[in-house]
Each structure stands twice: as C-alpha cells, then as structure tokens.
C-alpha cells in the first residue's frame, strides 16, 4: 500500500491506523501467519498497532503477545505460562536507554565503570540466552539511542563516565553478540533516531506522559524498521532492481542530447550526484541484488550511455537490459519471466511519476517516489527493500549466477535437441545430507522459494539444525555446477521417517535451475537413501498456494501415484520404494 511505503506520512498512519488495517485485511492479499512476542521496557501499545500495519503490507499477518508494562525481562526470566502457550515465532525486545540500569557516576574508577558495563550487558545477555533456550526462535533486540542530554558536553563521547561513550560501548557489545549468534538481530535505533533527529525522537514529554521511550510521531519509523527485519527473516526481501536510464542513472536524455552531453562523472555537480547514485546501485550487487534496465531508448544509445567512460555502471553489471519503445510494464514483465522471478520481487526505479504509477499499478511491485536526484539514495536505502539479516556467500555471487544463466539461454538456443544441450553443459551435482557450512543457505532457501515449493513450509536456521542432527529425518541438499559456473545450493528435500514410511515435509528447488533434470537427480538420491534406511513407501504432499502451480503435478512426474485430493486442491501421493528403481537423471554427474 502506497501509504505505508517510504517516505510515508507518519501523522496519517497514526491517525488512520484503524481504517488502514481494515483496507489491508480486505485487500484480498495472501498472508503468512506469524506469532510475535513484543517485550517492552516502555509502552508498546502503538508500536504493536503500527507494526501490525507494516507487516500486513509485507504479507505477514501477525498475532501479538504484549508484555505487561516494562516487564521485558521478567516475562522471559520467570515462569510464564502465557508466553509458553503463545509459542512465539519471533521475539522483539523493545528497550531504550531508559532501561539502562547502571549508568556510571562521576568519580568512579575505570574498573567500576567497566563493571557497570558488564552488569548492564549481562542483564540482557541472560535474557537473550534464556529466551533462546525456552523459545528457540529468532530474537530482535533494539540497541540504544543516544542520551538526549550530555552532562560533559562533547567529552561525553570520550570520557568513560560520559553516557554517550557508555552507550557506544554497550552497543558495541550488543553488536559483537549479534555477530556471533544465529537468529539474533539488532534493530539499530541508534541510527534510526539519529536520522530522525534525536531531539524529536527523545522528546521527554512522551516518557513522562505515556511512558513511551520515543515520540509518537517516530513510532511508524521504528515499526517500519522492525517489520523490515521480520520480512527479511521470512524471505520476503525484494531481489532485483529494474532501473530507468535517462534522468535516473544519468542526467539528460541520451537520444536527444547525445552521449557526450549526458551528465555523469566528476566534471559537473550534476554529473557527480548521478555518479554517486550509480556507485550506490553498483554496490547492491555485492549483497545479491540483481540489476536490470528498462528504458525507453534505442538499445544502441542505452549501451553507449553505460559505456560512457565516467559511467560507474557498465553493461556487464546488468543481467537484462531492455531498451526499446514498448511499455515499461511489458519490459518489466519480460525481465521477470526471463529471470524466473515473480514481479513482486522487483523494485522499479524511475524518475518519471507516470511510469511509476503504471508499473506499480499493473504489476504489484513497489515503485518508490524517489524525488529529486539528490534524494534517490536516501529513499531507496531507507525503504528497506533488501534488508540484510543473513548474507550468504551465494548472495554475493548471485549476479554472476544470473549472468551465467543468460549465457546458458543463448547456448540452449543453438542446440536442436534439448538433451544434447544438457549434455553440453557438463553438469556436476553434489547431493548429500545437510552439512554445517550450508545450513544458513538451506534455511534461507526454505524461506525464499515460492514457486518450486511443494509444501511452502518455512524453516528457521535452528529448525534446520534440528532436522540435520536427528535420525528421524532424511535430509538432502543439492548443489549444481556446470561449465558456466557454480549455482550453489539449489534444492532441499526433507522427509520425516515414520516406521517404513517417509513423509515428505519439504521439496524445494531454486527456479534458476529449472529444466536441468536436477529434480530427477534429487529423486534418485532420495530413493537410494530411503532404500538404505529400509523405507518402503514415500508419501508426497502438495499444498497449493498462489505461487506454486508449477509443481502441482510434480510427484506424478517423479513416478508417484495420487492417493487423494481434497476440495482445496491439497494432494497426497505415494511412491513404492523398490530395489529395482531405475535412476531417472541422465545428464548430471552426481557426487
């Protein structure tokens, strides 16, 4: 919903939250359901109400548990039947510098200050560890905003007694813990409050009147930020940018002005601001964002612009460049299809409000109001489209992999026989039980795969670890390499054993390896594992969603028999495991 996209009008959201919620629930949008425990060190009422809106907008319908006022610590540390029964999927601990209990006093020795720091840290550490032990779910914790006054003035940041220094040190300890801990995320309100303006954020009126740790008007920003972390945990990040060229990546209209006259590079202030924006976009590749172009231009001109010596972005940085006179919505749709991604996983960046309007209305993808060129970076950055909660090695390589895919598409076109093409790819697969180095990627894949996903069951990293450690499951990951490069882990299969029956909890595959016979290779390995474990029957389940139509008949294709189908289209399949099983994959060399 436009009203909930950055830059949003906080006053409007606060005032209209009831009717916004009604609209979101009535929009016909599909939601995943999650239970979120909000444990506050101050009032959380409106934080929850507004988080609810942003989460709904991100496709997450949340049920909330709210701690009693300021009972964030007690709620976890002491017996809590209500929270146990609630069984949260996520715990959000909303604390602020109002909850720091041991601020140092003037005259304390260095050692005394250090023990204050340790005491404050331990207070939280115990809470996180107990929460993890009892609930085994992702935890999101605020770090601390700066104090709104400084007894020591500028020295508050350098003197060990200063609160600014103290908060910096405490935040560093929080960050170190987060760095070393799975499923633990810091919400950086230190940064949020500074971008918002600490004087407004920390207006003490809200604390003394209502026991809010921040100003009401800043709550939407806080809630938006935490909703971004949550949607990222559940694999709802955007994946790709589609960018316009003229007046978006450079100043001027290349078709009219000529390549020598576009504004890009160090010569002019306008050229510099576009170059900085290009540098920002180029850096997105490093976190796995896929870059594409949709521009109304002759292709020749588009490429000439990107080959401009001062252009930071080069044609090679993009996976798909569409420069023609077709409607942009068509070009964006084509890009989505060619990359095997859903339109909703794109962000459309264009300086022209009319183009934004058409694309966002027709394709259900955000087209942020990026404002004037000097605002572009801020608007895209603050929108949190690509909020990083877990950066896997695959993310950094993603652009390369899509690039390789485009080359495969070209090669495919040159072969008359598809089998010959597959053979020419020289594919090598690694299909094995889960291994520690891949657990992050496996968990990420379970949350990101929507189309080739039979049950759409999502797993946290902790749950994947449990499956991996247990004897009651057969679990497989599949990695695929070919002559163009390594696709990384692209398929995951999990079945739980019940006597001599294997029930398939999960079968997913990344769409970037569709039609490569990888699914047959996975099936072959699954059968061989099943045989080794004395399994007689494999039962497959297909649960339809809005996105997984492509695998409706998947089990049939694998050789399963359909047992039943209910009125909502859920199907159950059966496969008899026999020694005489003949391998179905003919093109991938496995293990």
């Amino acid at each position: 919903m436009k009203e909930l996209q950055y830059p949003f009008d906080s006053g409007y959201i606060i005032k209209k939250k009831k009717s916004i919620k009604r609209q979101l629930l009535g929009s016909g949008k599909k939601f995943i359901e999650k239970k979120i425990a909000v444990l506050g060190g101050s009032t959380t009422h409106d934080i929850i109400a507004i988080m609810d809106l942003f989460l709904l907008d991100q496709g997450i319908k949340a049920e909330f548990y709210e701690s009693e006022y300021a009972m964030y610590w007690e709620d976890v540390m002491f017996e809590n039947e209500e929270l146990k029964a609630f069984s949260p999927d996520i715990i959000y601990i909303h604390t602020s510098n109002r909850n720091i209990r041991n601020f140092p006093l003037q005259g304390m020795t260095k050692e005394e200050v250090n023990s204050c720091l340790e005491a404050d840290y331990q207070h939280f550490l115990k809470l996180w560890e107990k929460a993890k032990a009892d609930y085994n779910c992702p935890i999101i914790q605020n770090n601390f905003e700066y104090p709104y006054y400084r007894l020591l003035g500028n020295s508050d940041a350098t003197d060990i007694h200063g609160r600014v220094r103290y908060i910096n040190r405490l935040n560093e300890k929080f960050a170190t813990y987060a760095e070393e801990t799975e499923d633990f995320f810091i919400q950086d309100i230190n940064y949020l409050s500074s971008t918002y303006g600490l004087d407004v954020w920390s207006n003490p009126l809200y604390w003394h009147m209502y026991k809010y740790s921040l100003a009401m008007e800043a709550i939407p920003l806080l809630a938006f930020s935490v909703s971004n972390i949550i949607k990222s945990i559940y694999g709802k990040n955007k994946k790709s940018l589609v960018l316009d060229l003229d007046n978006t990546l450079w100043g001027g209209i290349i078709g009219d002005d000529g390549v020598e006259n576009i504004e890009i590079g160090p010569e002019t202030s306008m050229g510099q601001v576009y170059a900085e924006f290009q540098t920002y976009i180029k850096a997105q590749k490093d976190i796995g964002v896929i870059l594409n172009i949709a521009s109304k231009n002759e292709e020749e001109n588009a490429l000439a612009g990107l080959n401009h010596p001062d252009s930071v972005l080069k044609p090679d940085d993009f996976i798909d460049i569409k420069a023609n006179w077709d409607p942009k919505s068509k070009n964006v749709e084509d890009i989505a299809r060619e990359l095997n991604l859903l339109p909703e996983s794109f962000v459309f960046v264009d300086d022209n409000p009319a183009e934004r309007e058409i694309v966002s209305a027709q394709l259900d993808m955000p087209a942020p109001e990026i404002g004037s060129v000097e605002d572009y970076i801020r608007v895209i950055d603050r929108s949190g489209f690509f909020e990083v909660t877990k950066l896997s090695a695959d993310d950094a390589k993603r652009n390369k992999m899509y690039k390789e895919n485009m080359e495969r598409m070209k090669l495919e076109a040159s072969f008359a026989d598809y089998g010959e093409y597959l053979l020419s790819l020289d594919m090598k697969g690694t299909i094995k039980g889960f291994e520690p180095i891949y657990l992050d990627r496996i968990a990420q894949l379970t949350n990101k795969s929507n189309q080739f996903n039979l049950t759409t069951k999502r797993y946290t990293r902790a749950e994947i670890e449990k499956v991996s450690a247990s004897d009651e499951y057969i679990d497989l990951y599949g990695k695929l390499e070919d002559k163009f490069g390594d696709n990384g882990v692209v398929s995951v299969v999990i079945g739980h054993i019940n006597g001599d029956i294997l029930n398939m909890d999960l079968w997913i595959m990344s769409c970037r390896v569709l039609k490569r016979d990888m699914e047959y290779a996975m099936m072959d390995e699954l059968v061989s594992k099943a045989l080794a474990k004395g399994i007689k029957t494999i039962k497959g389940y297909f649960y339809p969603t809005a996105k997984n139509k492509m695998v409706k008949e998947f089990y049939k294709q694998m050789g399963f028999e359909k047992l039943s189908e209910d009125e909502s289209g859920n199907t159950v399949w059966e496969f008899k495991v026999k020694d005489s099983y003949k391998k179905q994959n003919n093109y991938i060399k496995v293990n």
């Binding site: 006053g11 005032k15 209209k16 009831k18 009604r22 409106d46 009126l205 009147m209």
Partner: protein
C-alpha cells in the same frame, strides 16, 4: 479561526482516529462520552489534533484538559497567534 471551523476539523480528526463517521463532539464532550476513548487512544488523538492544526501542546496543557471545549480553547489561542 472561527470556533465552528475548529469544530468542523476537530470532528474529522475524531472520526478518523475512532474510525467512526457518526462521532460529533461539543464543548462538554469528555472521554466518558465517546466509546473507546481510553488513555491509549487519547495519545493518538492528541497527536492527530496537533498534526491537523500544526500546533504542539505542552505537557502542562495536556494534563489539564478537561473536555473538548478546553481543547478548542487551546487550539483557538495557538492558532490565532
């Protein structure tokens, strides 16, 4: 600004905040007269009024407000300076 004009805009704010098109407030209206007007929604209401009239209530003023009429007095005073 005329008092009627303040009331017209104030009624809109109340209707938005309570998500109820039937609300009409007057000088004597207090929290007890409007269904759902608890201390939590009160915060939203104050924010929304501030936003609507582009004013800020200071703490001393907020804690003393007894009914809608007093709120209108404050708005009137703040908007006329």
């Amino acid at each position: 600004m005329k008092r009627e004009e303040i009331y017209e805009r104030l009624n809109e704010v109340f209707r938005d905040v309570f998500d109820d098109e039937s609300i009409t407030v007057a000088d004597e209206t207090t929290a007890a007269d409007v269904e759902g007007w608890d201390s939590l929604i009160h915060i939203t209401l104050i924010e929304a009024v501030e936003e609507e009239f582009d004013i800020r209530f200071d703490m001393k003023t907020v804690v003393k407000l007894k009914n809608v009429g007093e709120m209108v007095d404050v708005i009137d005073k703040k908007c006329s300076v």
